[in-house]
């Protein structure tokens, strides 16, 4: 274990080449999984007895909704690390996660509306699940806006980290909202504690799409963090080694 120099990896200069090497692998894994997931979801999985083919939105909606919450937790984790240990890379990772988290939250809301209309007869209701998911989108926007409003990146790191950590209470509210309140939104599609209620190909398609979303998120965040590292470490000597010499 001592051969892995964690503290060395925690410096942007050593993390940059690692991120650059990992992106194509995670990106390729995401593409392969998305192809399999779409094939299973659109062609193999049977039509649902109650919801017809409208349920096929689940293959986008559920992975997007899971990622919207999971990315927020990961972002809050790196914010906590950056506040505690004052590490630049942790703050950069949090900064890189926010736009992708917002993208998945947006997708969860839009695909939810597209499913709500045929299933409940309305695109939108101020129901606990939907309202708390909308608040999640505003938390991502607020985090990014606060960052952009502060010129000094280290101060922006600290202020936005505090905002992200305060907002983390919203995640369990989203997750448990269908249990705590009598919502229009249906209960959990998948439970770890009970036998699956969905047909096997439906469940398989959904899980494969969830893994595709997960690998995509890793790839795009590792790509964005490279841009952020270069933007923020512009004046560091090692950055010059990355770019071809100007003649």
């Amino acid at each position: 274990m001592s051969s892995i120099a964690w503290f060395k990896l925690a410096s942007p200069a050593s993390f940059f080449p690692l991120a650059r090497r990992l992106v194509p692998w995670f990106g390729a894994a995401a593409a392969v999984l998305a192809t399999i997931g779409l094939w299973v979801g659109l062609l193999v999985a049977p039509t649902d007895a109650q919801q017809g083919d409208a349920y096929r939105i689940i293959f986008i909606h559920v992975p997007a909704a899971w990622m919207s919450m999971f990315i927020y937790l990961v972002m809050a984790f790196w914010c906590a690390v950056s506040l505690t240990f004052n590490t630049r890379l942790a703050a950069m990772l949090a900064q890189a996660l926010a736009p992708t988290g917002a993208m998945f939250t947006f997708l969860a809301l839009v695909t939810g509306a597209m499913w709500g209309r045929p299933a409940w007869g309305t695109y939108w209701a101020w129901d606990a699940r939907m309202t708390s998911e909308l608040i999640l989108l505003f938390l991502y926007f607020g985090y990014m806006a606060l960052r952009n409003a502060i010129d000094d990146p280290r101060r922006a790191d600290r202020a936005s980290a505090v905002l992200a950590l305060v907002g983390v209470v919203n995640v369990p509210i989203i997750y448990f909202s269908v249990k705590w309140w009598n919502t229009l939104h249906q209960g959990a599609s998948v439970s770890l504690t009970s036998a699956p209620t969905m047909a096997a190909p439906m469940l398989a398609g959904m899980l494969v799409m969830a893994f595709a979303a997960w690998f995509y998120a890793i790839a795009i965040v590792l790509l964005r963090v490279q841009a952020i590292i270069v933007e923020r470490e512009k004046n560091a000597n090692w950055i010059g080694d990355l770019v071809p010499r100007t003649r």
Binding site: M114, P118, I220, A227
Partner: protein, 62 residues
């Protein structure tokens, strides 16, 4: 896709608009994100190059 062919597949049992809007929005969102993040990295690298950054390695290396 069992019976009915492509038109039945696209119709999605009458829910085609809702299903395909969801998939289309997702595809566009992912494409836009990939393009914009690539552009952001390229711009960041370019600005380093423009600033005439001093390279820390000697000339005989590379």
């Amino acid at each position: 896709m069992k019976e009915g062919g492509l038109s039945a597949f696209l119709a999605m049992g009458g829910y085609g608009f809702y299903v395909w809007t969801s998939y289309l929005v997702a595809a566009i969102a992912v494409a836009v994100e990939i393009i914009s993040v690539r552009a952001r990295k390229r711009a960041a690298m370019k600005s380093v190059r423009k600033s005439g950054h001093r390279v820390s390695v000697p000339d005989d290396i590379q």
